[in-house]
Structures are given as C-alpha cells and as structure tokens.
C-alpha cells in the first residue's frame, strides 16, 4: 500500500525522468565515445579511455574547416532570417493586406514539406538557372527554411502583445521611433530571441537540404556523413559533445538568471 501511495505521489516525476533519460541517452553515448581510443577506423566499440581526441579536436583533416563553414552559414542565415522574419511577423500580425492569407499559408510550406523534396527542388532550380552551388546557395536555402520558424515564433509574440501598450507610449510623448525602440522591440524580444535560436540550431545541423545545394562546400553535418562512410574519428564525438555542452550551459545560465531575478522580486 505504501509503495502504491509513493508511486501515486511521484508518478509525474518518474515519467519525467524516464523521458529525460530517453532524450539524453544518445548524447551521453556520444560523449562517452569521445573519450574512446578506437581500434581501427570506426568508433563504434569501446576500446579504452584516452583524452587524445579532446586534446586535438582538429586532428582530422577538414573537420575544423567544416565546423567553421557551418558556423558562418548558421550565423549569417540566422541574422538574415531573424531580421526578415521579424519584419514579416509584424506585418502579418498587425496589418490587414491583400496577400496576407496566401503569405500565411505559404510560410508553412517549408515547415511542412519533406526536406528531401525541398532540397531536390532547390537543387533542380539552381541547376536550371545555371547557378553554381556552394556557400551562397546553401545560405539562400537555409535563410529560406529558417524564415518560417522565425516568423512563427515572433508572430505568436506579436499577436500576444497588447496594442494599448504602444498607444500608452505614444500618449506619454514617445515618437513612433521611440515607441518601437522602447516598447515594441523589448516586448517582442523573447519571441525574436526564440526564433533566432531555433534558426541557428536548424541551420547548423541541417543535412538534407544542404546536401542538394552545397556543391563542393562541406558543412559539419556533411563532413560527419562523409566520414561515416570511411570511418568515424572520435573528433566528431568531441565536436558534437562540445556543441551539446555549450547549448546546455547557455540554457542553464538563462534559467539561473531568470530564477534569480524572480527571487529578487519576491
């Protein structure tokens, strides 16, 4: 009876932990194998502990170049997609105009369409227009699919914003520019931030669409894919784990700050 009661009280925590384990287990395996000293070209079986890969993360030809390319593309496409997406979100959220419905629907296409279809059609388009695929075409493709996610994230925020707040700012002597900078932008910031983070993550790890539009440019996901055919150096695990740890740290710092601020207020 005591056991049943205990279960009843903790069932939510229990399921939460199970879900968490399910989601983080692959990352833990990746992290573990980054310390492996593989016997041969493939890093699939545990052989022995070493820090070699962590000491020389660029020890494999081309790996760090590919990370740099991915970073550049992710940063640029995030910037452009966030700027454009925010503008589109405000237009869709605030104004009524002729093509509004069509744009709203079309924006969901990149999210709902299978990536392979979009990648293939973009590849065909670039080929037919005789554009050499490479860094620029990857960037164009990434901006395109990131845009939808930014718009969705920012639009949700814009729709939730009380238009009275901007009227109140105007009423308190703020010119239109000041209203935007002092009220509109700070209020929309969480949505814009979420959209940008989503865009960065999507761009950085995209493989399918990149594969169709990359030409000779090698991004990190493509390097991993290529490596998997020939052999998987533990450096891949090192970079993967590092990305994971950095992402978790960023989220944790954010959480701690938020809870500290909440405590200060109380």
């Amino acid at each position: 009876m005591a056991v049943v009661n205990w279960l009843r009280r903790n069932v939510i925590v229990l399921f939460g932990l199970l879900a968490l384990g399910y989601m983080t287990l692959p990352n833990i395996v990746v992290l573990m194998f980054s310390f492996n000293d593989p016997n041969g070209r493939f890093n699939y079986t545990w052989n022995g502990f070493t820090l070699d890969a962590w000491e020389q993360p660029c020890g494999v030809a081309g790996i760090c170049d590919s990370v740099a390319v991915s970073m550049k593309i992710a940063v640029l496409s995030t910037l452009v997609a966030t700027a454009l997406g925010t503008a589109i979100a405000f237009a869709l959220g605030r104004y009524r105009f002729r093509a509004r419905g069509a744009i709203n629907t079309l924006l969901f296409l990149p999210m709902s369409m299978p990536e392979v279809v979009m990648g293939a059609s973009l590849g065909t388009l670039f080929l037919n227009m005789r554009i050499n695929t490479g860094f620029v075409t990857i960037l164009i493709a990434h901006i395109m699919f990131c845009l939808s996610f930014v718009v969705v994230a920012v639009k949700a925020r814009v729709l939730g914003m009380d238009p009275k707040l901007e009227e109140a700012a105007q009423d308190l002597y703020a010119s239109p520019t000041q209203v935007f900078l002092r009220v509109t932008l700070p209020l929309a910031a969480p949505g814009i931030g979420a959209g940008a983070m989503l865009a960065f993550a999507l761009s950085f790890d995209d493989f399918v669409i990149t594969n169709f539009t990359s030409g000779n440019t090698v991004t990190f996901p493509m390097f991993v894919y290529g490596a998997a055919q020939r052999g998987t150096p533990p450096q891949i695990n090192v970079i993967g784990s590092a990305m994971f740890v950095i992402a978790v740290l960023i989220v944790m710092i954010g959480q701690i700050r938020a809870s500290r601020r909440a405590k200060q207020r109380a």
Binding site: K164, D171, Y173, R265
Partner: protein
C-alpha cells in the same frame, strides 16, 4: 513645459462638430461640447455609445472624420498623441510589463528630455502611496496598485487634461468605491481637468461635476448629477440614470403654471417648468423613491398630491434601508416604489390594493417616445 503653460491660461477642451465614422458605421455624431478647465467631467453611456471614441479623439489616438478638438485656444486636431498636452489612464492600465514601476512612472518625463527623474518619480509614487514598490514590475502588483501606478504615470507629466478610460472597471466593488473617492481627491488637489469615461452611473454621479449622458453617438443630456437625476430630459436619461416610472399622458389644461394631465384616466398635475415637452402629449415620469405607497382601504391623502388608485402589489422586496415594491396598475403597467423602512405598514404585502401618491413638483415631463429606452443598456452594464 513653457508650451503647456502658454496654452494653459484657458485650458477648456472644446469639441466643435466632432464626429467619427468607420465606413458605414457612425460611432460619434457631430458633437459640440466645451469642458471647462479644472472640472471633473464624465462621459456616461452604455457600451458602443461613442464615449470611448470621443475620448480617443481628444487623446489623438483616433483621427476625427469631421470637426476639431481644441485645448485652451490651441487647435490640436491634426497633432499626433505624443504632441498633445493630455495623458490617458487606460482601461486595464496598459502598464509596460518590461519596465519597473518607477520606470513606468518616469516614462513620459524621460521622453520629454528630463534628465534626472528620480526625485519627481519618487514624489509621485509617494503621493499615490506606492513609494516602497518602485522597483517592482507591474505584474507583481495588485489591481488597485496597478491602477494607482497608471494614474501616477499620467499625472507626473502635469497634463492640461487627464483622460480616464473606464479606469476602475477592472476593480472589485469595494476597491472601486475607495478609488472613486481617491481620484476625486487627487483631482481636487491638482486642479487638472479630468475627463472620465464610464458606463457606471453611480461612479459618474459620485465623481463628476458635470456628466454628459451619451447614447447612439450623441449627447442625450448634459448637466450636473442632480440636474440629470431630478430633471431628465429624455426617456433614455430617465431610465439609464437611476430608475423611473414613466406613463403616457395627455395635456388637458393649464393652471397656475401647472400642466393638468390625463394619464390613463387619472388626473395629474405637473409644473410646466419641469416638462421638457411642448405638445399635447407627453411622458410623465416619477422616481421610485418619490412615491408614497398607502394601503387603499383607509387612505387619507391630501388634495394637492398626485394620486394613482387601484394598484396591486405584486412583489415586495425588503433590502434593509428600504423596501422595494412592484405595483401593477389597473392599465397593466408596473410601477416601482422605494419606501424607507421607518413605519412599515404590515398590510403592504403582495396582493394588497394600494394608492400611489406624490408631490406634483417631484414629477418630470418628457417628450413622447420609447418608454423603455435605456433600461436594457443600464442593466446590461450592471452585469
């Protein structure tokens, strides 16, 4: 500041031919209105009567379709809101959620280039008794506190006119009564013109010097609370502001400044000065608390009083200070009577036949029209 002081010499708000329509819908019909400087003015009406639109046109948040808005002797019709010497306390306050209470209050000063706002903000917050909460965010305050921040945020700019858009609508009844008195006190202290939009007739009567009752985009009647209550000029005002018993009547003659009326076969008198109607037909009105109710069998009623015989009580509700009777008249109409609980006649129970009588000078005459105008609006907003 200098600009404001110059125009402040005479700070009347004047609306001339002001109207607003959205497509085919007319929100405000052409309106001429002068709100004297330093007064507490209420725009009272049911939802959709155009009161908020009028307020927003004064604030500059809505552009009028026709007409002009002047503050003092300055025409502000074309000016954007941020160039007008008015501030607004918004419905639901519209406090900036990302700024602290102090930054909310200092927002207007800072936009006008005041460098050190700390002292002024603190003084203002102390005035509304929120000095200790300056660092909080608005969401951490109670409704009443938020309301006071909204007032402080507007008043700190010493506007010529403070606009209040249903500022107490979100508060519970007790807090609302308290804030009504507080707002009235602040207005008396600072002497700024307050224009207050509300649908709550009691609120308007408690606070305002002058009330404009609006209906269907027009001002039905303008006057002090006492004038509006004691001498309404339309059936809408008679029913919307308090309750009224209205009965159709025919003018049969005149004597000593009184109109002699025939209402459903009853002879009634009404001072001609208290009638807003000119013709032979009018609507006679009497407030429920002005009527005396007497048990019919042994009634001795003075000759100079108006009397209606043959009513039957259908409902009697005891509510402490008074008892409210509903009396069905012989012609089918129901009259409401409020009787102070001083010497209650125990025979006044449902089924009893009674005589209703009152001093003729308490009645009022209205132009014939819809007897029920304003009743639905008044009860809709009470809900």
């Amino acid at each position: 500041m200098t600009e404001q002081q110059r125009a402040g010499a005479s700070g009347d708000v004047s609306l001339a031919g002001l109207s607003k329509h959205y497509g085919d819908f007319t929100a405000v019909r052409p309106m001429d209105l002068t709100i004297p400087a330093g007064s507490f003015f209420a725009l009272l009406g049911a939802s959709g009567c155009g009161k908020t639109t009028t307020l927003r046109m004064i604030a500059g948040l809505e552009q009028p379709s026709t007409g002009s808005v002047s503050i003092g002797d300055r025409d502000v019709t074309g000016l954007p809101p941020y160039k007008r010497p008015v501030n607004t306390v918004f419905q639901n306050y519209a406090l900036f959620p990302h700024l602290s209470v102090a930054d909310n209050v200092g927002f207007g000063l800072r936009r006008r280039g005041v460098k050190d706002t700390r002292k002024q903000v603190q003084d203002m917050l102390d005035l509304v008794e929120l000095g200790h909460l300056a660092k909080r965010k608005p969401t951490q305050l109670s409704g009443g506190q938020q309301q006071r921040v909204a007032v402080a945020r507007a008043l700190i700019n010493t506007p010529q006119v403070l606009l209040l858009d249903e500022p107490l609508g979100a508060l519970d009844l007790k807090l609302r009564r308290q804030m009504q008195l507080e707002l009235k006190r602040i207005q008396t202290d600072v002497g700024i013109t307050f224009v207050h939009v509300t649908h709550d007739q009691e609120e308007a009567m408690t606070m305002a010097d002058t009330i404009a009752v609006m209906n269907g985009g027009r001002i039905e009647q303008l006057g002090s609370p006492v004038e509006l209550y004691e001498a309404p000029r339309t059936t809408f005002v008679a029913n919307f502001l308090g309750q009224s018993n209205l009965v159709e009547a025919k003018v049969t003659g005149r004597a000593d400044g009184d109109l002699l009326l025939d209402a459903q076969g009853n002879r009634l008198a009404l001072p001609a000065a208290r009638s807003a109607a000119d013709g032979d037909h009018l609507v006679m009105g009497i407030r429920p608390e002005k009527i005396t109710i007497t048990y019919a069998a042994d009634a001795k009623i003075a000759d100079n009083r108006n009397r209606l015989d043959g009513g039957v009580i259908v409902d009697a509700a005891f509510i402490g200070v008074s008892t409210q009777y509903v009396v069905r008249m012989p012609w089918g109409q129901e009259f409401t009577v409020f009787e102070q609980n001083m010497e209650r006649d125990p025979r006044l129970v449902p089924g009893a036949t009674v005589i209703l009588h009152w001093n003729p000078t308490h009645g009022f005459g209205l132009e014939s029209g819809d007897l029920t105008a304003g009743i639905a609006e008044a009860s809709e907003d009470a809900a």
